[in-house]
């Protein structure tokens, strides 16, 4: 009894898929930018900031890394309103992703910063550069070059993890797939197509990040 896969049942809904895909792409892009910014700040604070700040950063990182993303998402979307902060699905999704990526990139970038030889910092300051300038032009440049592959991997992981935001009704690709399969009752085909779209996205993003790495980040 071979079940016949009917992919053409998806065709009338291709715009829905496209919209979901667009949402996922935008969500990922914006969250990545903000997440890396958070990570940079966190890593810098941890390495160069006062001890008490470092401890707060460690706490933040460890909590995020040791709890599932979906729980973080639910906490932000369902839990915060109880404390008076009400958010739309998109904003909650964005916030959850930024906080999540921020924690992982803090760790990754921190490793990169600590790999920069101390001599470089000394050279910078003996050239009368301020600590912020040394950080910005010497340390971070090298740190990013070193950890770009690890950071790229994490970005892809977060992008794939974004499928969970469908659970709070944020209208991403997974939400679109859920919608379609509830209408055409072809769940397997719909999710297979969605999975392959995610895969294509992952491959494309990987290539893009590698290109960005070569062009902007690499240190010769």
């Amino acid at each position: 009894m071979i079940y016949k896969l009917q992919f053409d049942s998806l065709l009338p809904y291709w715009t829905v898929l496209l919209q979901g895909l667009l949402f996922t792409i935008i969500l990922t892009t914006v969250s990545t930018a903000a997440g890396i910014a958070v990570g940079t700040a966190g890593a810098s604070a941890r390495v160069f900031g006062p001890r008490w700040l470092g401890r707060i950063v460690v706490g933040y990182v460890e909590i995020i890394r040791n709890t599932p993303f979906i729980v973080q998402l639910f906490f932000i979307y369902f839990g915060l309103p109880a404390a008076g902060i009400k958010l739309s699905e998109s904003v909650a999704a964005f916030l959850a992703m930024v906080i999540n990526l921020g924690a992982y990139s803090t760790e990754i970038i921190r490793a990169g910063i600590e790999a920069v030889p101390k001599g470089h910092l000394e050279a910078g300051s003996s050239l009368a550069m301020s600590r912020v300038e040394v950080l910005r032009y010497i340390v971070l440049r090298q740190a990013f070059a070193k950890v770009w592959p690890a950071l790229s991997s994490q970005i892809i992981i977060v992008m794939l993890g974004s499928s969970v935001v469908s659970q709070i009704s944020a209208q991403d690709l997974t939400y679109a797939a859920n919608f379609i399969q509830s209408r055409n009752f072809r769940a397997f085909e719909v999710y297979l197509v969605a999975a392959l779209i995610y895969l294509s996205l992952a491959i494309a993003v990987r290539a893009l990040l590698r290109a960005i790495g070569h062009r902007f980040v690499s240190v010769r």
Partner: protein
């Protein structure tokens, strides 16, 4: 009354957490077994075998775990089999875990000096003999920290099983939230339970890694 209902929530969450632990353990073990087989395939130097394995790894690493859960949940039904959330979750997590573990282990195998391969092959050892007696014993030592580290990802991955109806701690949290309307408390407790499960493993993995780096 207030104290009682918090306690009730905690107890229910902990009971559900048992299922989190059971699913995590079973998926980790079965995922590891599949991962080991894939490792042999991936490093076998047999082109088609390596190719198939690469596609497998690319699929399970490059698609969301949630999609994989849905695919197994709805896909198993296509074969006319009775599908329970437990079965689908176990299958999806097993294959997902195997893809990541095999890549981690492959990295460890490839980090060994080529000379180990050359010396053992010069002693007329076959590929399987090389892997069993020379390569894997050495790779194992290096592989333990990242493998322990990945177990944390498996535990977090079980949270998604809640979406296809498997009752583990996240699902219990959702149900309790619907019953008590105390999301801040409920999800904080859920997070705390995961933290208690994951943090010791994360800490241990880091300790193992540090010890390994010192030993080198």
């Amino acid at each position: 009354m207030y104290e009682f209902s918090v306690w009730l929530i905690v107890v229910n969450l902990l009971k559900a957490a048992e299922w989190t632990v059971i699913l995590s353990l079973i998926a980790f073990v079965s995922g590891g077994a599949v991962g080991l087989i894939l490792l042999f395939a991936r490093t076998s130097h047999v082109p088609w075998l390596e190719g198939v394995t690469k596609v497998y790894i690319e699929f399970f690493q490059g698609t969301p775990l949630l999609m994989q859960l849905f695919l197994f949940f709805f896909g198993v039904a296509l074969f006319g089999l009775e599908v329970s959330p437990w079965l689908a979750a176990w299958l999806a997590l097993t294959f997902w875990t195997s893809a990541f573990l095999t890549e981690i282990w492959r990295g460890c195998v490839e980090s060994l000096p080529k000379g180990q391969w050359e010396a053992s092959s010069s002693l007329a050892m076959s590929y399987i003999e090389q892997m069993r007696y020379v390569i894997l014993p050495q790779a194992l030592r290096i592989a333990i920290p990242p493998t322990v580290g990945f177990s944390v990802q498996v535990i977090k991955g079980t949270a998604l099983a809640s979406i296809i109806g498997f009752v583990e701690v996240t699902k219990a949290g959702t149900m309790l939230n619907n019953a008590t309307f105390r999301p801040f408390l409920v999800y904080s407790l859920v997070a705390a339970i995961y933290f208690c499960l994951c943090y010791p493993l994360s800490w241990y993995a880091k300790k193992l890694e540090r010890r390994l780096n010192v030993a080198r």
